[in-house]
């Protein structure tokens, strides 16, 4: 792979968006209107409406069971796989209705990548892990194409230097933090517009968490990122927009600074000061 690495040009790192960027001035990428979710008879989400800005990090925070992960999974229709789950309301990505029956869920998930709570690399080689998405979607036209995608994705995920000599070794042999970055690289390899992250650091130690957070901050220059997190500090560190969920309701959303320094709602205030949750 060393030979290969020489041929691949370094991907340009675009200008970093300033941390203080105002999400309200950004174009809206994903829009949710009055989204409800039922698991059988139990309602898990009550009329959530939110706009997700393009190329920024939006954080969903809230206590366990508040519906933030449920809502995240509505966006790439992962809830489809749960038996008895019913989604109401409307979610659009670039004006395309996600729940339009004519929309192909396979195509949707190629546009909206996802990173899960527990790192879940395939029990295959590191190379295969990343090449899988481009392969099934027919993105790479040749073996060289595929090699380039793998290397570029690994570089973007900041993992290339650590694994370049063992691309054929199993992905499950990496450390937890490396596995999670591998999963991020795997998601990037398909070329998504939006990346959903469901508590991506909850299974990681603080150092690995810091690396992932840095990575998220770099990625937002090119991708729309939605992250669900338990950690308010993490939300404050990585996101530009924050939405607070409680008991299935979206209580408050806005610029991250405003939510953490000057929340409008009492429940938000209680949560961020540690009184509920």
């Amino acid at each position: 792979m060393d030979m290969l690495a020489g041929k691949v040009k370094m991907t340009q790192v675009p200008d970093m968006a300033p941390q203080t960027l105002d999400p309200t001035t950004r174009r809206t990428r994903v829009t949710a209107r009055d989204v409800t979710v039922h698991y059988g008879a139990k309602q898990a989400l009550f009329g959530v409406s939110i706009d997700i800005p393009d190329r920024a990090v939006t954080a969903f925070i809230g206590p366990s069971g508040c519906g933030k992960s449920t809502f995240l999974r509505c966006i790439n229709r992962m809830n489809d796989t749960i038996e008895g789950c019913k989604v109401g309301g409307k979610i659009t990505i670039d004006e395309d209705d996600i729940y339009n029956p004519a929309l192909d869920v396979v195509e949707l998930r190629a546009r909206i990548g996802m990173v899960f709570q527990k790192p879940n690399p395939f029990p295959k080689s590191i190379y295969e892990n990343i090449a899988y998405g481009p392969k099934i979607h027919g993105i790479a036209r040749s073996k060289a194409d595929l090699d380039e995608i793998v290397v570029t994705s690994l570089r973007k995920a900041g993992l290339f230097d650590e694994v370049k000599d063992r691309l054929q070794e199993p992905g499950t042999g990496l450390s937890g933090g490396q596995q999670q970055r591998l999963c991020i690289a795997r998601a990037i390899a398909v070329g998504p517009e939006v990346i959903l992250m469901d508590e991506p650091c909850s299974a990681l130690d603080p150092i690995a968490t810091a690396v992932i957070e840095e990575l998220i901050d770099e990625l937002r220059a090119n991708y729309t990122i939605i992250i669900v997190t338990h950690s308010m500090q993490q939300a404050a560190r990585v996101s530009q927009k924050t939405a607070f969920f409680h008991l299935g309701n979206l209580i408050e959303e806005g610029k991250t600074e405003d939510i953490f320094t000057n929340p409008r709602e009492k429940r938000t205030q209680d949560y961020i000061t540690g009184r509920i949750g």
Binding site: M78, V106, R109, A110, G113, N120, P123, Y132, G133, V190
Partner: protein, 457 residues
């Protein structure tokens, strides 16, 4: 509430009471544990003892029958006996059909000759002059199959006429019994299978080297035989079982795995799938003989497939094996962590890609193990085969799954019931050893493939 109060950790008195109570129960708890361990150990020992007894009997009886006595005789292809020595030569202008007919007529003629006289002469040549035995007694030393072997030898090579050849002829099953001590030597003449001079001759032959022990290749190379027990073998039953295994693997694995995958991954949960699931679980508990009845009713009576055919046997065993494979495959699929499915789906894999690229490869070792255990079970199954005619006496090696054939477990059953008990008890054990060997081989393959695949995954 007094208990709670007394357990309050505040005062030293309460602490000592608490410790006392714990200590009082401690002995009882340890005794219980020791007893449980003891019982467990006893259970394992009992199981081991039974296994040892089983192997001791089977191996003790079976292994000697892999050796059998042969007579080393100088056989003369006597022209006085072989009165039609030359095969028909092909006349000029004779048609193929005519030539074949002439050859067959000659072979029939050769078969009609009294080959026993040649065998008898060969044995008598070794007998001391003092021994007085009639033809029957002399011939009782040699297995009846041997005269056919002499005939076949001659047909293959007519130039043997008048020549004397040193040959090994199988001793008869009765000689085998006598020499191995499988029959009580103190029994009276009336209860013995061999006459007194024949018994004495057998002993003398063994002493002077005319009879030696040889590995009983016939067990593997010959088909079953009633007329010549010493030449009876498992070749037909082995091939029959092999064909059945092929049919089972070719039918049960794809159908079983496909059903399991569909039910587990694609079917929407409904009353119907629930009913199917319950029924599959029930099928696994249906006695195997019922599947035999079903096979007889459906495959033979309705579809008019041939009796005693490995194809039908394999189909019946497939029915029996399917539930095992389906249940095991479903269990394996259920055991795949949801995170793997989510990883695939989250990347935009279709459901089928998820199943075939990720879920099945992970479960493959378990499916393989289940399949081989199912096939091994089917290999040892006897009852359903009896109902579709596989207990027929078949003295040929099947050339295809549609030919009549025996099967290993059925052969064991038939031999166990053979009237020459002394001889076939040992042969039965030998057949059981072969069957067990085959099963151990199958399981070894399963374990080998499993560890290999798991290491690769």
């Amino acid at each position: 509430m007094t208990t709670t109060a007394s357990l309050a950790p505040n005062t030293s008195d309460d602490a000592s009471i608490r410790r006392q109570r714990i200590r009082a129960g401690l002995t009882r708890r340890h005794v219980n544990e020791t007893m449980f361990r003891g019982l467990g150990l006893a259970a394992i020992l009992a199981a081991l003892v039974f296994v040892c007894i089983f192997f001791y009997t089977i191996l003790g009886k079976g292994i000697p029958s892999f050796q059998q006595p042969v007579l080393h005789l100088a056989v003369t292809f006597d022209p006085d006996v072989i009165t039609s020595p030359t095969p028909p030569a092909r006349a000029v202008g004779q048609s193929d059909a005519d030539y074949r007919a002439a050859t067959l007529a000659w072979q029939r003629e050769v078969a009609g000759l009294n080959w026993n006289r040649i065998v008898e002469a060969a044995v008598r040549a070794k007998l001391p002059a003092t021994v007085d035995m009639d033809s029957r007694q002399v011939l009782s030393l040699v297995e009846t199959s041997e005269r056919h072997r002499l005939r076949e030898r001659f047909v293959a090579d007519p130039s043997l006429i008048g020549k004397t050849v040193q040959l090994e002829l199988l001793a008869s099953a009765n000689v085998d019994n006598w020499l191995k001590g499988n029959i009580d030597r103190s029994l009276s003449d009336a209860q013995q299978q061999l006459s007194a001079p024949a018994r004495a001759t057998a002993d003398a032959f063994l002493a002077d080297g005319t009879i030696t022990w040889r590995f009983a290749l016939s067990i593997f190379s010959n088909v079953d035989s009633r007329a010549a027990p010493a030449a009876a073998g498992l070749a037909g039953a082995f091939m029959g079982s092999l064909y059945m295994m092929l049919v089972v693997i070719l039918l049960a694995v794809p159908i079983g795995v496909a059903s399991a995958v569909y039910l587990e991954e694609f079917a929407t949960k409904s009353r119907l799938t629930d009913i199917i699931e319950v029924n599959i679980n029930n099928l696994a508990a249906v006695p195997s003989i019922v599947f035999g009845l079903l096979g007889a009713a459906v495959f033979i009576n309705y579809f008019h497939l041939p009796l005693s055919a490995p194809l039908v046997g394999g189909m019946v065993l497939t029915l029996m094996t399917l539930p095992t494979i389906i249940i095991a495959t479903r269990a394996a699929l259920k055991g795949v962590p949801p995170s793997l499915r989510q990883a695939a789906l989250g990347l935009g894999a279709s459901k089928m890609q998820m199943v075939f690229h990720h879920v099945l490869p992970v479960t493959f070792p378990s499916i393989l193990t289940a399949t081989i255990i199912g096939v091994a079970q089917a290999l040892g199954e006897t009852a359903p085969l009896l109902l579709i005619g596989m207990n027929a006496f078949v003295a040929s090696v099947p050339g295809s799954p549609l030919d009549q054939a025996a099967a290993l477990p059925v052969q064991i059953y038939l031999w166990q019931g053979n009237e020459n008990r002394n001889f076939f008890e040992a042969r039965t054990s030998a057949a059981i050893i072969v069957l067990l060997g085959l099963m151990i081989l199958l399981n070894a393959v399963a374990i080998f493939l499993r560890t290999r695949l798991e290491r690769r995954a």
